[in-house]
């Protein structure tokens, strides 16, 4: 049951094959079983069970709220959740309990979704590995999959062989691991430079970044206001569309959401791709791209062509500058956004009382890790009067050039761009930490962050397993606000490639037997 898609489970709930409370309990016990993945920071067990009970009442009366009623979901820990600790994986916000829900969280709850907990991330969403939070790194469930272990000629139960576990990618690694390990059916991430699509590719799930302005950012603790978007992580494209339908639409509390009336997001099944024009940006063929990913990319292009679509090579000439431009803009906006953390009204506060400035400085030193502090200082440097024009304004100009590159390509008749999502499959943690956070981010974001600069929708779809038995994803990029068309193409592709399900069978079997024992225990207690 836990391995099914959101739509399948929703149908099962309607038909009474399973109740929301049972579903919630199974997910909770699987979360406990997979605690070693470190995907969750906070597990909101009581809240979840309460929500599940209310959902059950609604189903009994036949008044379910919709496709998401009773469905377990998880939310990245940089979204504010009323009454539930929100930390952004940082000491600065440890113990912070927001008094309000982020709009996207509220919309999920209004549809009856059951909140399992808050997932782990890189501190303040800065990073591409989900390794730099104060609660520790997140482990990729594929490290424990039969597919990976068989290729490494290890026994599937070899948890003592744990030292070489793989990263999930980031920064929404906790959300990706939660969905990939079947502990929930959908999760919210955030996407500023690829933070939803990167871990989706490494964990073999669908990671969708909506167009900037489509989904509200109210309540999402901001990193880069002009590029942040809430992201959606699910096990299939249809599920992502279902969740998008709930989340998209104007929010009076976020004035950067567009006011066009929302359209429902039911995806039609595309059968004929012959009217489609797929663009392959040649600058994305970089030397660092692994040969396996390159060959999957090439095969995907051939697949479209063989089915009648027009596949052409296009050029995005300023691609090589997008990482540098992002680096400057990101650190500058971060310098501004992190200024709100001073310890006075919320969050960590140090013991110094000599002066406000001394108190702020010490609080911020204690609360932020090196990565965050490094970015704040770099951002402040670029925003100094003598540097402003040469760095910040210059980067904004380059941003326009990059955004125009995309506009030109789409104006020339291309419907969707097809690119890799990551340079290679997930790497072992010990390998990943050999380079520092900024280097890794610059390397790993290379295919994903130009999309954030231009505010376009993009989705990472898992395509196949590598030689090592690990997932590889490919990215589709669409025109601004053509999210539905993008997801329709992605759905067609997903159906063609038939990506295998992760085999965590030992985990699942153990978990269902645990559930049986718990069920018997609860029955005997009642008597």
């Amino acid at each position: 049951m836990l391995g099914r898609t959101l739509q399948e489970v929703s149908a099962a709930l309607k038909q009474g094959q399973i109740t929301p409370v049972e579903l919630c309990q199974r997910c909770l016990s699987l979360i406990k079983k997979t605690k070693f993945l470190n995907a969750y920071i906070t597990i909101s067990e009581e809240v979840a069970l309460k929500q599940a009970e209310e959902s059950e009442k609604r189903y009994k009366k036949g008044h379910s709220l919709g496709a998401l009623d009773g469905i377990p979901v998880a939310v990245k820990d940089n979204f504010s959740t009323s009454g539930i600790e929100t930390t952004c994986a940082s000491n600065m916000l440890k113990g912070y309990v927001p008094p309000y829900n982020a709009t996207v969280v509220q919309r999920l709850l209004d549809q009856g979704a059951v909140l399992m907990g808050k997932t782990n991330l890189d501190e303040f969403a800065m990073g591409s590995g989900s390794t730099d939070g104060v609660f520790g790194p997140v482990k990729n469930p594929w490290s424990y999959s039969k597919q990976y272990r068989e290729k490494r000629k290890q026994k599937p139960h070899g948890e003592n062989e744990d030292s070489n576990w793989l990263i999930t990618g980031g920064s929404s690694g906790g959300s990706a691991a939660a969905v990939s390990a079947f502990t929930c059916f959908a999760a919210l991430g955030s996407d500023t430079g690829g933070s939803t699509r990167n871990p989706a590719a490494h964990c073999g799930i669908v990671g969708f970044k909506p167009s900037y302005g489509l989904v509200s950012r109210h309540g999402l603790i901001p990193l880069v206001n002009s590029m942040d978007v809430p992201g959606i992580l699910t096990r299939c494209v249809d599920d992502a569309a279902t969740v998008l339908g709930v989340l998209a639409g104007h929010d009076p509390k976020d004035s950067t959401t567009i006011q066009d009336p929302g359209k429902p997001f039911m995806l039609s099944s595309l059968t004929d791709v012959s009217k489609l024009c797929i663009g392959i940006p040649k600058e994305y063929l970089v030397p660092e791209l692994s040969s396996e990913v390159r060959s999957f990319w090439s095969k995907a292009a051939n697949l479209f062509e063989s089915e009648g679509a027009k596949v052409i090579e296009v050029s995005l000439p300023h691609t090589s500058y997008s990482i540098v431009c992002y680096h400057v803009l990101c650190t500058s906006e971060v310098a501004s956004n992190m200024a709100r953390f001073d310890g006075l009204e919320y969050g960590h506060r140090c013991d110094i009382d000599v002066s406000t400035e001394a108190m702020y400085a010490a609080t911020r030193r204690e609360g932020f890790n090196d990565v965050v502090r490094g970015r704040i200082l770099a951002g402040n440097f670029f925003l100094l009067k003598e540097n402003y024009a040469n760095y910040f304004i210059k980067a904004q100009k380059v941003r326009r050039l990059i955004a125009n590159d995309f506009v030109n390509v789409f104006n020339s008749g291309v419907d969707v761009l097809l690119t890799p999502t990551t340079l290679s499959e997930a790497v072992p943690y010990l390998e990943f930490i050999k380079e520092d956070n900024r280097t890794r981010s610059a390397q790993d974001d290379i295919f994903t962050q130009a999309v954030n600069m231009a505010g376009l929708p993009a989705v990472s779809v898992p395509v196949a397993l590598s030689n090592q038995g690990l997932p590889v994803g490919l990215q589709f990029i669409g025109r601004a606000f053509c999210d539905q068309q993008l997801l329709t193409v992605a759905k067609w592709f997903e159906k063609q490639v038939q990506f295998p399900v992760i085999q965590l069978q030992e985990l699942m079997d153990d978990c269902s037997s645990v559930f049986e024992i718990e069920k018997l225990a609860s029955v005997s207690l009642k008597q």
């Binding site: 309990v97 008094p99 302005g213 009076p252 004035s255 950067t256 959401t257 006011q259 040649k282 600058e283 970089v286 030397p287 050029s315 000439p317 090589s320 500058y321 540098v324 680096h327 400057v328 650190t331 006075l344 009204e345 919320y346 506060r349 140090c350 110094i352 009382d353 000599v354 002066s355 406000t356 400035e357 001394a358 108190m359 702020y360 400085a361 010490a362 911020r364 030193r365 932020f368 502090r373 490094g374 704040i376 200082l377 770099a378 440097f381 100094l384 040469n390 760095y391 210059k394 980067a395 904004q396 100009k397 380059v398 941003r399 326009r400 050039l401 280097t439 610059a442 231009a454 505010g455």
Partner: protein
């Protein structure tokens, strides 16, 4: 034309990568002087904490310097991708509020309905003066 751009991009990528592993960064050194460090620490209210952090900043600056290679004559800076649209403004009516208790709950030091702050208008001591937050 595009081939040359790709090659340049590749070469500068490799050059940056090599530069990162070397100990002294000729491009970066000299930009982050003691004066700049002090200035940034005061502006950001975040201290460097170590020589490593200074080196990291120098590398970040060197990395950002690559933007100079782009020709941006006549290009307007882009602040937002939604620049062609008007921002939505709510009507100026009070519809929420009266949540004093909720808001005060998250603060460490509160007196009645006030957040308590240490005295202001005292600037941070200079680098050479005694640091107030060095613990014995």
């Amino acid at each position: 034309m595009w081939a040359r751009a790709v090659l340049l991009g590749y070469r500068s990528w490799m050059g940056w990568h090599r530069g990162f592993t070397s100990k002294t960064d000729p491009q970066g050194s000299g930009r982050v002087t003691a004066e700049v460090i002090e200035h940034l620490e005061r502006l950001a209210l975040v201290d460097f904490g170590s020589q490593e952090a200074v080196a990291r900043l120098e590398k970040a600056i060197a990395f950002a310097d690559r933007l100079r290679a782009v020709d941006t004559d006549g290009v307007e800076p882009m602040e937002s991708v939604l620049e062609d649209r008007c921002l939505y403004l709510r009507s100026d009516n009070v519809v929420e509020g009266n949540c004093v208790e909720e808001l005060l709950q998250n603060a460490h030091r509160v007196v009645e309905e006030y957040f308590v702050a240490p005295p202001g208008n005292i600037s941070l001591p200079k680098q050479d003066e005694q640091q107030p937050f060095s613990h014995n």
